[in-house]
């Protein structure tokens, strides 16, 4: 009897889904901001996932606090991923990294029982893999990628800097940056939670 009530309360309800949808919209806006910033300099283009991890912590943790059930984070990520792919923001590769990132985050959240900050933080590190699909084509299909952006008429400076930056070594830096960004993003979110959201009675 108790077991059945526990499983029914673990199912996502209308309210949880609406909350996930709203935060998915905000998460997508974070992606738009990141994309605008990345046009400024090639470094920002490569470290795009770092920027996203830094900024997206707040909506992610709010969702985690509001909906402590399986599937919420996955739905939030996948809705954003689908909008990003449909709106032509990103390639299909990004769709795949979204799938990987969201699934991993969901597994970790399940293993850590949804409510602990540490568990959510580890899940957030994996969740930040979502954005890696954006610069990843540089390494996956290097020649094709550079041929493509140069036929597009992108400025030679930008391409050269990008080419010089995008060494295999940089790929390690990228993943390290994702982890650092995710941890920093978590700390920012935690700071804001303690400073404001708890006082406002939201979490």
């Amino acid at each position: 009897m108790t077991a059945t009530t526990a499983t029914t309360s673990q199912k996502l309800k209308g309210k949880d889904l609406i909350t996930a949808g709203i935060f998915a919209a905000i998460y997508f806006c974070v992606f738009m901001i990141g994309q605008l910033l990345s046009a400024l300099h090639p470094v920002l283009w490569i470290l795009f996932p770092f920027v996203i991890a830094l900024l997206a912590g707040i909506p992610y943790y709010l969702l985690c606090a509001k909906v402590q059930k399986p599937g919420a984070v996955f739905i939030m990520g996948m809705v954003t991923g689908l909008i990003a792919v449909l709106s032509g923001q990103d390639s299909v590769i990004e769709g795949i990294t979204f799938l990987i990132g969201c699934s991993m985050a969901e597994i970790i959240r399940h293993a850590t029982k949804y409510s602990s900050f540490k568990g959510n933080m580890i899940a957030y590190i994996f969740f930040s893999i979502n954005a890696v699909g954006s610069p990843l084509p540089i390494w996956l299909m290097r020649e094709k990628f550079f041929a493509k952006i140069s036929t597009l008429g992108m400025p030679a400076d930008y391409i050269n800097t990008l080419d010089a930056l995008a060494s295999p070594y940089m790929l390690i830096v990228l993943f390290a940056a994702v982890i650092i960004g995710a941890v920093l993003g978590s700390l920012i979110a935690k700071g804001l939670f303690n400073k404001h959201f708890k006082k406002a009675g939201i979490v």
Binding site: A24, I58, M78, V79, I83, V85, S91, P155
Partner: protein, 222 residues
């Protein structure tokens, strides 16, 4: 009945995906250009004649910018603008379909289309809420911006003052919206019926066919 034609939301989604593939396949300019023209024709057929004309003009301006002005512009301006211009030209087909769908497809039709594809209800609810929430974010941003100007807030504090009200209002909206949606039976497990009936017309099939032809062209003509 009006004389305007309609495209099925499903056609819209398929065309969007195909245009994405075309954009990323990076073919020669005429493939992109003719696909843009064909989509502008679709816009015209669906009763958005004026926007179709506007979009074509803007496309021409972008091309002029790209091939005539940027090569002769000073280096600094060239670097900062060409990425935007490039990206816009590449993504132009997607933008046209996106705008057409926003103008002509009510969210209700869109949801029925997704249901016909048997996507999970959970996903459909979140997805449609997310799409509906974008205008709210923009409005919110404007209000917060004005308030910050009024109170003379500068620097890093602006970030905090932007993020906080945004999040609080997101949570409040979630509460209000779900109260409304639950009253209307969103949690009812019974299969939903709908007044809207979607049918694929000849126009839909013609455009899907053309989409595939252009994907083929984009991949094989370099």
């Amino acid at each position: 009945m009006d004389k305007e034609m309609h495209i099925d939301p499903r056609t819209g989604i398929i065309l969007l995906l195909l245009s994405n593939i075309i954009a990323f396949a990076q073919s020669v300019l005429w493939v992109n250009g003719s696909w843009v023209c064909i989509l502008a024709l679709l816009m015209f057929l669906c009763g958005c004649g004026r926007s179709a004309a506007k979009f074509l003009t803007a496309y021409l301006l972008l091309l002029i910018l790209q091939y005539k002005l940027i090569p002769v512009a000073p280096k600094f301006i060239a670097t900062s603008f060409s990425i935007f211009v490039n990206y816009s030209i590449m993504m132009y087909p997607c933008i046209i379909i996106g705008i057409l769908m926003i103008r002509k497809t009510p969210l209700r039709h869109f949801i029925v289309a997704l249901r016909k594809w048997h996507l999970s209800t959970n996903f459909i609810i979140s997805f449609s809420v997310a799409l509906r929430y974008f205008p709210a974010i923009r409005e919110e941003k404007g209000h917060i911006w004005d308030a910050m100007k009024l109170r003379n807030i500068h620097g890093l504090q602006r970030m905090e003052c932007m993020v906080l009200p945004m999040m609080v209002s997101a949570i409040n909206t979630a509460d209000e919206l779900s109260a409304a949606a639950v009253t209307r039976g969103i949690e009812n497990p019974a299969p939903k019926t709908s007044l809207v009936e979607l049918n694929m017309s000849i126009l839909d099939w013609i455009y899907i066919g053309m989409g595939f032809i252009f994907v083929f062209l984009a991949i094989y003509i370099k």
